[in-house]
Subunit: 377 residues, 2 copies
């Protein structure tokens, strides 16, 4: 990768616009949903008992006002926003190197999650061979899911050393081009297109139903919040909004230091490694180098907040039971921050007596009924 | 109730249109969704092994073609189509007896399910007291849900004799007017408005995206299928389509004779009582008298099909995991018939080589993460 501190200068709203032109024929324009019940719940103070044992114990609970606009990337192709980045990275490769070369060499990545399926789908759609390196201990459903999109799954050990050895081996044999899951210019631009749609859909919705906003006289979104794992989604969204008034926030799980990005911002330095078994399994990775360049820029990302496992589960229950939308635990951390993080809620209360219109990116919906059963048993 | 065989003559498409005018300001126009994955799965033959031990064992599996259009009443107010009937019944009462009388007397029903919450919501919206008689063994979340809409919950024993005694007692004291859950002219008309929207949304969708239909040259829905519990939804939908080419079907759980309507059609006589603990808990009731008049009319309902508990669970898994939509088990029996009932699938294969565009009513989404955990543990 080129020097991230240089590369970041090319991450502009125009780069997101250009990515959108390229990927639009291949991805879904996912719906923007609202939910009065969740607005009501989030716009009431938490009970003082809920705050017992937290840093906010004994303080008057914050009393912010929210109107939520949910960008439902769980309805994206392969069930997650990752389809945007994968299609964009592959279309750029083809544009830069020619279809013939890319089809001959193929693409490769290591992932056991949504990026693997996304790249497999993009590759099969564009007639490119895909090699996906997965730990041999991956769940059979994920292996089958990736294979069902026509990719060749190759197994490795589960450490990064073992994984990278297999990648190098397959690359040596095939010449396959690496498409990284998040720490990559084209991936970031692809994920950022979710923000472009979100903004346009918010404006269109308020033309029809201005009463859904706290600013019926017309306005921009006050804020957008997304999960941060590797940081591709958050960096892309922040890039899109970097020339607008909308503030961008990130959300992470706090379990076992899973809030590496938040801790890095506190310390003034990226945390390069993280080891957490949070239920938000898409967010177990440390934030990438290029992503860090964006997210640590206070002009682009206004803050990163963390939530506990219990808060993630509580938010997930509300989305499943009240909103009737199926999301994976990673997808709900942004909503959990709005509902339960007192520091964030105090900020919203303080910044605007009128309250905030907040865009929340539901990043994906790839979970199983068995996994839900285990979470809530 | 007036003589059902006379009353049924007034159940016309015009009665549904009139109901819609009345309730439109109070209910959601729920979305009509499509899902390519479910079309693909339903349009492939079942494996011969799947048919082992069923009446279709040894036969060549049917090979029908489906395009589904899901009317998502799980996104209706209170999470189920019941809001339509409850608002309609109450608005009619007010139109007929005057607001003052209805507000003074109040309304009453016995239900532990979605009708209780629907009537509670309609009553509080229209400023009418509501008395809901619930068995004292009802789950706390259902009691709280009903109370949260401002209704007075009064407990009874769980047999119908005990329940009706409490209803009579409260009526004697208050003069409250009974709003039955399904066996009622105005309830049927209210539920039928879901079909009116479904048909209009199907036509509007195909103008935008004709390729979603098997009949891109323009057509009506070939069929609509809904769950049958008390039969209000199915009778209302069948009434709306009674002057159109669209065929209407019903779906029931087969466990412990839960397919009372299907059995009644076989025997030529309504089955008046049923006792089943099917997971499709909204469908444990026998079909009502007036509803039976509609459903047993072959010109209105083309057939009723049953599915097993395992088939309901398999369909529910697909909707949750692949379509990412939260539905309750009762909501999915229509889809389960299309996916797994060989008799129905053979019918579709035989009737149309081109296949069928089928409207499927997802009737509700009121379940819990714990209930899902239990179903799939």
């Amino acid at each position: 990768m080129a020097d991230p501190s240089v590369l970041v200068q090319s991450l502009t709203p125009a780069a997101i616009d250009a990515a959108y032109v390229l990927i639009q024929p291949y991805v879904h324009r996912t719906p923007l949903l609202t939910c009065q019940t969740l607005n009501t719940i989030a716009s009431a103070p938490q009970s003082p008992e809920t705050l017992a044992g937290t840093p906010s114990e004994g303080q008057t609970p914050a009393n912010p006002t929210f109107r939520f606009f949910f960008k439902c990337e769980n309805y994206q192709r392969i069930g997650a926003f990752k389809a945007r980045g994968a299609f964009h990275a592959l279309l750029r490769l083809i544009a830069e190197r020619g279809k013939e070369e890319v089809q001959k060499r193929g693409v490769i990545t290591h992932s056991s999650g949504n990026h693997a399926q996304a790249l497999a789908l993009a590759a099969s759609t564009l007639g490119v061979p895909a090699y996906i390196i997965m730990p041999s201990i991956s769940t059979p459903s994920k292996i089958a899911g990736t294979q069902s999109h026509g990719a060749e799954v190759i197994f490795s050990g589960s450490t990064s050393v073992e994984r990278e050895a297999v990648v190098a081996e397959v690359q040596a044999k095939t010449g396959a081009i690496l498409v990284p899951p998040y720490d990559d210019f084209n991936i970031i631009c692809g994920q950022g297109t979710s923000a472009l749609e979100l903004e346009a859909q918010y404006q269109a919705l308020l033309k029809e139903e201005p009463q859904l906003s706290l600013h019926p006289e017309g306005n921009a979104l006050d804020a957008v919040i997304t999960p941060i794992g590797g940081g591709g989604l958050n960096a892309g969204v922040a890039t899109f909004f970097s020339d607008k008034t909308t503030k961008v926030f990130g959300a992470e799980p706090s379990l076992e230091g899973g809030d590496d990005c938040r801790r890095g911002l506190d310390a003034g330095e990226r945390v390069p490694a993280v080891s957490t078994l949070t239920i938000a399994d898409g967010l177990r990775t440390p934030v990438g180098l290029l992503n860090w360049e964006v997210i640590s820029d206070r002009n682009k990302v206004a803050g990163v907040y963390a939530v506990t496992e219990e808060q993630i589960k509580a938010a997930m229950r509300l989305v499943l039971e009240r909103m009737k939308v199926m999301i994976e635990p990673s997808a709900v951390v942004g909503l959990a921050v709005c509902l339960y993080n007192e520091e964030f809620r105090r900020l919203v209360e303080k910044e605007a007596s009128q309250g905030w219109d907040v865009g929340i990116v539901f990043s994906g919906g790839n979970t199983t009924v068995e996994a839900i059963g285990k979470l809530f048993s």
